[in-house]
């Protein structure tokens, strides 16, 4: 998912097990931050006021089954509910799944193909109508009817989904979603066991909407939801307003907690510089866009108590086109991996407090992650080091010569925002140093992500980002480098490297199946697969970024969910 228009990043949400390493040492937080892993009891005296959010631009459609940006997913947490939800707490426990509109976690059949839920009674949409099992079934059908961007990727395992994907308008999931209005039972039938289905059901694309929600993109028209807030108005060129859902009654505080502000107003149109100034002047409470590089030091010293820094399960990486010269040669790809100075890229991103050098495809702390790095000084594929330490330019130059690609032209396609362009300029400099003739091609952030996916554009190397969708190794390795993710000539070919090793692909599918019965064993296998993939260097991983939230002085009760980032509804402004 695109994180925001300005960053042009992909957000896919991942899950870190409670044992993950994203401890407090990595985080910097203000005194207003909440206690990790615990959502405090609702304090009525802190309720009220208007929370003012600012961003450079809006994130497109307001339809929760279609929008695929972190910018709005963050808001949907307070406006919509699925059968399941990610736990709304601060810290790693936010990757845990809890029942939301369902009374409990699903009963799963022995073969893993059937999930049975019971819908809670008495829950109402913001327009006052009761939520029924018919709404649940209609919502799953709507995912296909509106051609949700993840319909084919996340929900294709529901029985009948293949027909819905072929003919969205007539989608019928009678066999996939079987409901009983008398008992409020919902039976979800899958074509095969899916270890990640619980996460997929907790994503905004699987929220429950009224059965009569339009079978097309609702655009700027809000669709009633069940959350603590409802969207009152949306003008993509100006403002988005959320108000309290008067029909909301808290049923599971861990899934959908009551919010504090009376109103949440999201204003669009301010540059990042202006957003910083607005917060410093108490004219706004939080900014979406990355803080401009030249303001970081100032804010880190003068406004340290208003800054919150959190490690993300994400990566900045360079997909190299494995089917196009010079990177159809494994030695050329390895050369780039050796040449990249990850510390330099970290510096461009804002320094060691805001990012960490990375070498593996699975980020540190992510399920399946193993510590290794083949592409650092003194290491190679046969004897990898534990972690990346420094680049090896000489080895990179030697590999370029060996590959026979010396002197070839290479185009680097980057987004045209400041940070990406600087990264691109640095990569251009590195490629020129190791013997290529590199040119930089910055293109609009709005199209760069789809542009670099389409093989017709003959992109040789690019800079991209991936933020986890849900907490499973397959969301990185299989989604980004699986053979099935490579569709030549399509704007939706997320395997930008065009990497397809059939043997490794089989092992990835086997690991996904193994995860159904033995998650630990599967994660161990993912670590081995990661190493084998990186031996072939289809991409060059650069660093793991951190999230910086800059809040106004009046904001209290900051909670950072690893899954959906700052919990907007829990901020107190009174």
């Amino acid at each position: 998912m695109r994180r925001s228009k300005s960053v042009a990043a992909l957000l896919s949400l991942a899950f870190i097990l409670s044992a993950c390493s994203s401890g407090a040492d990595d985080e910097a937080g203000s005194s207003a931050q909440a206690q990790e892993g615990v959502l405090a009891a609702y304090d009525e005296s802190k309720a009220g006021g208007t929370l003012r959010l600012v961003a450079k631009g809006a994130a497109g459609t307001l339809d929760p089954h279609i929008n695929y940006t972190l910018q709005f997913w963050q808001l949907y947490q307070a406006a919509y509910d699925g059968l399941l939800a990610f736990r709304k707490v601060d810290g790693p426990k936010s990757f845990e799944i809890v029942p939301d509109l369902a009374e409990a976690l699903p009963e799963v059949s022995a073969d893993g193909k059937t999930l049975t839920f019971t819908l809670r009674s008495g829950i109402k949409f913001s327009d006052g109508r009761d939520v029924t099992v018919a709404d649940v079934k209609a919502s799953f059908e709507r995912i296909f009817k509106v051609s949700s961007p993840t319909a084919g990727g996340f929900y294709n395992g529901i029985v009948g989904a293949d027909k819905c994907l072929a003919n969205p308008a007539t989608c019928n999931l009678d066999k996939g979603i079987v409901v009983d209005a008398a008992t409020n039972k919902i039976v979800m039938n899958l074509t095969g066991a899916d270890a990640t289905i619980k996460y997929k059901l907790a994503l905004p694309h699987a929220v429950i909407l009224p059965a009569d929600a339009p079978s097309k993109d609702a655009g700027s028209d809000p669709i009633p939801g069940t959350g603590a807030y409802t969207f009152a108005s949306y003008d993509p060129n100006n403002e988005l307003k959320m108000v309290r859902n008067t029909h909301f009654v808290e049923w599971n505080r861990e899934a959908q907690p009551a919010g504090y502000p009376d109103e949440i107003v999201y204003s669009f149109g301010l540059t990042a510089e202006a957003q910083v100034n607005a917060i410093k002047n108490d004219q706004a409470d939080w900014m979406l866009d990355p803080i401009p590089a030249d303001r970081l030091t100032e804010l880190g010293t003068e406004n340290a108590d208003q800054i919150n820094v959190h490690t993300l399960t994400a990566m900045w990486y360079l997909p190299m086109n494995n089917n196009l010269a010079p990177f159809d040669n494994v030695k050329a790809r390895q050369a780039v991996n050796y040449a990249l100075d990850r510390n330099a890229m970290v510096k461009i991103f804002g320094g060691e407090q805001l990012a960490s050098p990375a070498c593996t495809f699975l980020p540190p702390g992510f399920p399946g992650h193993a510590d290794f790095c083949q592409y650092t000084k003194g290491a190679d594929t046969a004897s990898p080091a534990k972690e990346w330490t420094e680049p090896d330019l000489e080895k990179a130059k030697a590999l370029v010569k060996e590959s026979g690609t010396l002197g070839q032209k290479v185009g680097i396609v980057v987004s045209d925002d400041e940070v990406n362009k600087q990264m691109g300029e640095y990569v251009q400099s590195v490629l020129n140093q190791i013997g290529y003739k590199a040119t930089l091609k910055p293109i609009s952030s709005n199209i760069q992500f789809t542009y670099i996916q389409n093989t017709n554009n003959k992109v040789q190397i690019s800079i991209s980002q991936w933020y986890q969708d849900f907490p499973a190794a397959m969301d990185f390795s299989y989604i980004l480098l699986g053979c099935e993710s490579f569709t030549p000539g399509s704007d939706s070919s997320i395997n930008m490297a065009g990497y397809c090793n059939k043997d490794i692909n089989k092992r990835m599918i086997a690991a996904m199946e193994l995860a159904v019965t033995d998650e630990d064993a599967a994660n161990k296998e993912w670590g081995v697969i990661d190493k084998d993939i990186m031996d072939e260097a289809p991409v060059a991983v650069a660093f793991t970024p951190k999230q910086v939230d800059f809040l106004s002085k009046r904001v209290k009760n900051y909670n950072f969910s690893k899954q959906f980032y700052m919990l907007v509804s829990q901020l107190q402004v009174k």
Binding site: P292, A293, D294, T297, L299, A304, Y426, S429, V548
Partner: protein, 338 residues
């Protein structure tokens, strides 16, 4: 009575001599020429400065590079050590002859060296594109004005089409298209990062601004007695153009030169600022301003210095243009004298 005497003297001398003397006695000429010469010499010295003074490669990123200040080795890009220790800032000006005299940019490159190299490109594009405009504009203006009828209509309509687009809109559109795909026409092939592209684009978009007034002047000249006499005496068209028309058009062309160079330079800077002019790692004053934009709060000089150089150069060219215009326009001088 006394203030009429110079006018009488002026009228008794040749126009060329009048112009030269006028220019020689105009302070603006000297100031503008000195400034321009100084800037041109400085920018031409860029390779020498990078090799012997700054001892850095201004086209290679040096993000983890170091330099020595007061005997101590320091990082070119420095991690903040205060508060939350977030943010990385390029080293500021050392104000000493040597490395990083004017500090570093966000790629850790020497700003002074890049300013000089950037100036070379900006001036090269400015002068080349300016002269290209003058050459094409003059040629088209003379051909259209002298030929009349169909040729005049054809050329004029083409000029009208170009004229119809705002200069910057046309420049940006052409730059975006040509930057993506390069330019290929017969044996001529320009790659997307080539410096010839902005030269070609800028040289083209200003052509009507020269061609149209020249055309008007030629139409007027065509009706003058000495041209009619030449035609009547059986002179060839080329003889009439080169012997009768061109010498009378040249003063106007000369006046255009500094103005067109200044406009071309400003347009190049604007395009480069928008990332559609000079491409990295090459520099121009426009690209350096763009680089400095992200450092305005911490290292404002990175953006301000190229801006200042653009202003000085453009003002100098305009002053020179004004002086040349005054010198080559005897009527204006006479009006001033009377």
């Amino acid at each position: 009575m006394t203030d009429r005497e110079p006018a009488v003297q002026v009228l008794s001398e040749s126009p060329g001599r009048i112009a030269r003397e006028t220019l020689a006695h105009d302070r603006r000429t000297w100031i503008a020429s000195a400034l321009l010469l100084f800037i041109v010499v400085l920018t031409l010295a860029a390779p020498l400065y990078a090799t012997y003074v700054s001892k850095t490669d201004p086209f290679v990123s040096s993000i983890n590079g170091t330099t020595v200040i007061d005997g101590q080795e320091v990082s070119v890009l420095q991690q903040s050590t205060e508060g939350l220790r977030i943010g990385v800032n390029p080293i500021g000006p050392t104000w000493r002859i040597g490395s990083y005299a004017l500090g570093a940019d966000n790629q850790g490159r020497d700003v002074a060296a890049r300013l000089l190299y950037g100036g070379t490109n900006t001036l090269l594009i400015g002068f080349t594109a300016g002269f290209l405009t003058i050459t094409i504009g003059t040629l088209l203006g003379i051909i259209a004005g002298y030929s009349g009828k169909f040729v005049d209509s054809f050329i004029s309509r083409i000029l009208d089409v170009i004229w119809a687009f705002p200069v910057y809109l046309l420049s940006i559109s052409l730059s975006v298209v040509l930057l993506t795909s390069g330019f290929k026409w017969g044996p001529i092939s320009l790659e997307s990062g080539s410096l010839y592209l902005p030269i070609f684009i800028i040289g083209l978009v200003y052509v009507p601004y020269v061609a149209r007034p020249i055309r008007g002047q030629v139409i007027a000249l065509r009706e003058r007695e000495f041209v009619k006499a030449a035609i009547g005496s059986g002179a060839k068209n080329s003889q009439i153009i080169f012997r009768e028309i061109l010498p009378n058009v040249i003063p106007s062309v000369i006046v255009f030169i500094p103005m067109m160079v200044a406009l071309a330079m400003l347009t190049e800077s604007a395009l480069s600022f928008l990332s559609i002019g000079v491409q990295p790692p090459d520099a121009s004053w426009g690209t350096i301003i763009k680089d400095g934009l992200g450092l305005l709060y911490t290292r404002p000089l990175v953006a301000l210095l190229p801006g200042l150089l653009i202003v000085i150069t453009a003002v100098s060219l305009n002053l020179l243009g004004d002086a040349v215009r005054d010198a080559l326009d005897p009527k204006a001088r006479m009006r001033g004298a009377v």
